[in-house]
Symmetry: C2
Subunit: 233 residues, 2 copies
């Protein structure tokens, strides 16, 4: 590669990294907005979240296309190829997080349209803020290529899962006491499930960071192995 | 490329295609086995499904690794690159389908451990067989590079979604009549959700087939556009 080509290649890779982070920031905002609007019953804001989802879908398509072009034109190897492959995987997760935010917004609309009668009073905010925190940390770890921070995200996923189980228990109690809450209870259940899924996707992104940084594919290997890989030179 | 290298490259691509289909066959079997064991209360078979999931995870890691090696070594372009990229995406979906089969098996175990008291009688078999049919057709379309068949899979996803909604309605009725069915009702709800997700993943695979075949990325574009792309030359 000439110096010129090599610089251009560098800047293409940098642009992809930047766009992943922008896309990540956007989905983070979508979740935050959906949760806030759910809390204060701002239906217009819930509509905005639903409408905005297609921008995130377009970012996914654009980024995928950019990655394919880089592979075809630049024939990246080693670290560079790992970066491109990780981006291809990570943006699928970001797009799915966007879908989950959209689902939360849609169910939120239904909840508020039902005039809040027979709605189980179950708090989702703590679980959601844990999941958003995981996503933010995973994106940070991606930006800094920080495997140790990424391993921390994987560990945090257990907290979100525990929150999710707690929410289910609360919902069961509510519905047992007043079966008329079952319809809205199911909406809340699926919102909780969406939050749990956001945590899973953030965990996936964190695992790709370890792959980018260390070259070890840590998926399906368990937390102990991930922490070991993150510490390895 | 020399004739020899080119033949070797061809056989590497063929091997990847074959392994995707094997992985697909394996996850299809996992769903079928989980559903059958759920029906006849065969807890040993449910355990087998849970245990077998890690084989599918390993297939994902192996196939991903093989794809990265092909990109690094062979620098595929055009159709070949599209094939490799589609495989990278498709195996993520296959692995997730495996996860959903595992979830069904785990919840099935809980259902049978509860001695079948207060269990809502809701039939999941029809939805499951629709989802399995979608998966089988998507894999077939992948094998034959058949965009028309792939578009058909995307259309079928609406049927699975409709089945899913019907199941929710039935569950609501059950729980309203006897709130003690709520705990097992939630398990059944998540099993239905797993089946619906299997349909979504099969749809994703079908969309990659159109990309491989036609070079058009049809994700997020809607059924009409997918059918148009499938018909294009």
């Amino acid at each position: 590669m000439t110096d010129h080509t090599s610089k251009q290649f560098e800047s293409e890779l940098e642009s992809i990294r930047t766009r992943v982070l922008q896309m990540g920031g956007m989905v983070e905002l979508q979740i935050a907005k959906a949760m806030e609007a759910l809390g204060n019953g701002n239906v217009a804001a819930l509509d905005e979240v639903v409408d905005h989802d297609h921008h995130i879908n377009l970012l996914e398509l654009d980024l995928d296309d950019a990655c394919i072009h880089i592979i075809a034109k630049r024939q990246p190897a080693a670290n560079d190829l790992r970066l491109v492959m990780s981006v291809i995987k990570a943006i699928t997760d970001l797009e799915r997080i966007g879908d989950e935010a959209k689902k939360i917004a849609k169910m939120g609309k239904r909840l508020h349209a039902s005039d809040a009668v027979f709605v189980p009073r179950v708090e989702l905010r703590h679980a959601a803020s844990l999941a958003v925190d995981m996503l933010r940390k995973a994106l940070d770890a991606f930006a800094r290529l920080d495997s140790t921070a990424a391993a921390e995200v994987v560990r945090q996923d257990k907290e979100v899962d525990a929150e999710f189980k707690g929410i289910i228990r609360q919902l069961i109690t509510f519905v047992m006491e007043d079966p008329r809450t079952i319809s809205r209870g199911i909406d809340i259940l699926f919102m909780a499930k969406a939050i749990e899924r956001i945590g899973d996707h953030a965990k996936n992104i964190a695992e790709y960071v370890v792959f980018m940084d260390k070259g070890t594919d840590v998926r399906h290997t368990g937390l102990a192995n991930i922490e070991r890989a993150a510490k390895a030179d």
